[in-house]
Amino acid sequence: MEPELRMSADGRVTILALAGRFDSYTAPRVAEQLARAMSAPHPQVLVNLEKVEFLDSTALATLVQSMKHCRQQGGDLRLCCLQQPVRMIFELTRLDKAFEIWADEGEAVRAFAGADVD
């Protein structure tokens, strides 16, 4: 897994696209990228999990910690494009209630922008 960091077309949202297994082995690298993504004030981070087939409790902890950090800084960390097994893990632990989860990356980015206007 090589986490890939990029900006949305409008430059407002940092998108982190992950692939493969997101677990205790790969979490430190993801955490590094998330730290970079969150370095701006009011960080707006979108994690695209489209190519992630599995995540474990360490991965969940990494996402939760980053999400809380973003919210404390007046931003947010949201998720998009969850595959079924990954979605199941979020539902099983009810973390789908804590995260804002979107089916589509474009919609998620637009929702960030909309929230910003409000």
Binding site: K68, T93, R94, L95, K97
Partner: protein, 534 residues
Amino acid sequence: MRGRRCEHLLVRMLTDGAGQERDIRSVLASQRGRLATLAETWLDAGARGYGVWAEGRSVAHWPAAGPAEEGAGLSAPIYVGRRVRGELRVSGLDSPAAQARLEVEAQMVSRLAQLVDELDEMTAALVDAQDHLLALYDLASSTRSQLGVPDTLRTLACEAARLAQAEGAFALLVEPGRGPLVEHYPEPLVERKLLLGLFEQVQAKASALVLHGASVATVLEDVFGIRNLLFEPIRIRGNIIAGLGLLNKAGGDFGSPDLKLVQAIAEQAGAQIENVLLYQETLAQAKLQHEMELAARIQLTLLPRRLPKVAGLDLYAHSRPALQVGGDFYDFMALPDRPAIFAVGDVSGKGMSAALLMAMTRTAIRSQASFMSRPTPQEVLSRSSRDLYDDLTEVNMFVTAFVGQYEPGLRRLSYANAGHSPVVFCPAGGSARLLWADDPPLGVIPLDHPRGQSLSFQVGDMLMVATDGFSEARNPAGEMFGYDRLLQLVEKFGRDGESAEEATRIVLDTVTAFGAGQEQDDDQTLIMLRGVAL
């Protein structure tokens, strides 16, 4: 070595005009007796005078009384290398034999001059080496007593500045993944950022950087008054991650003796810094080990020593901590006047912080369950969440928690689940299924109104509340134990009528066998319940 030293001597004599007379004099100083004997034999043989001359002036002459005779006579050149550096003169004799004899003597004096000078050189080199050895010994003893990296760097800079006679010095260490450490002596002469930039050059070059004259950057000279600089890399475990720099050599530029000295210091310093780093790593490991032992002790102390007896339930629980202790716990609260409450939790993270949060969470749940007049699982969870949320947010951790309550009269099991998994329920004769959480873990978002659930829990029904240390246990191939294997196990327990204790033992053994010797990454904790006759 000897050849090089002679060559060096020659170069010095050829280039250094003042050297000529000095060498002849030093020969005279040490060989005066022999020269005097030679002079006597000449005088006995009828010569009027005998003398050594250099640059047209007399250096020594016999007989000692009276002035040196300048008039015509015999003379023979004293060569050093290929050049004439002086001459022997004899007056009052004029024969080919006397001339031949004088020439042989001049050759001998040449050779003597050379030998005496070589000896001087060797003595000087020995004294230098001795000085360096003493300096390095001083350096070693002053740095050996330093246990911290900054102190070691500061001592190094101080000793290096003193030995190389520089106005100032600095030593730095840039460990991967850590902020650079820069120490100065006696005080910073150049700003840190600039030094780190120069260090990158030293790293790239993998050899010393020497700047003087025009090569000193304008900013170094204009802003910081640096005339010259010598920056030597220090290898730590084979990598250039440290360096030693000297600034403003007293009375000149840094030359090759300084470079040699600083190289010797850098080698010594590299070994010393390695030792300090090793010491600190060992210390950190010992601390970590101690912390882990303490965390494990906290965890074990807080687990119930005895299992309660609850009518209608056969129950068992077990927790085995991983080497790097996590924050798992289980607890039972069985007061005589109310239905028994049990809880299983798992704190995110590992080590001492996880163990402490586990203790806090257990205390929060236990006190809510004990002090409420009519506790329900969702109310216990709701209040615990309120107690813990700020602290959990502060340390950026969270806790999954399952709180259950069994009412024997109703044969009802009610529960509230904040992000906890795996929880497996298997009705007698039916299939096992996962009970999903109804709320996220404690500490993720405020849980104002957690949801409660209830199950009818009859004879032969089984419930296993485990932690993810089981489902995420790995085998050597990296494969996880997963939920399906746990579901199959619990279903089989239901069919086979295993006791809670036996079922627990089988789960632990099966997961251990699956791991096939792989180290246990996370705590494994479970409560097993089986419905039995009242």
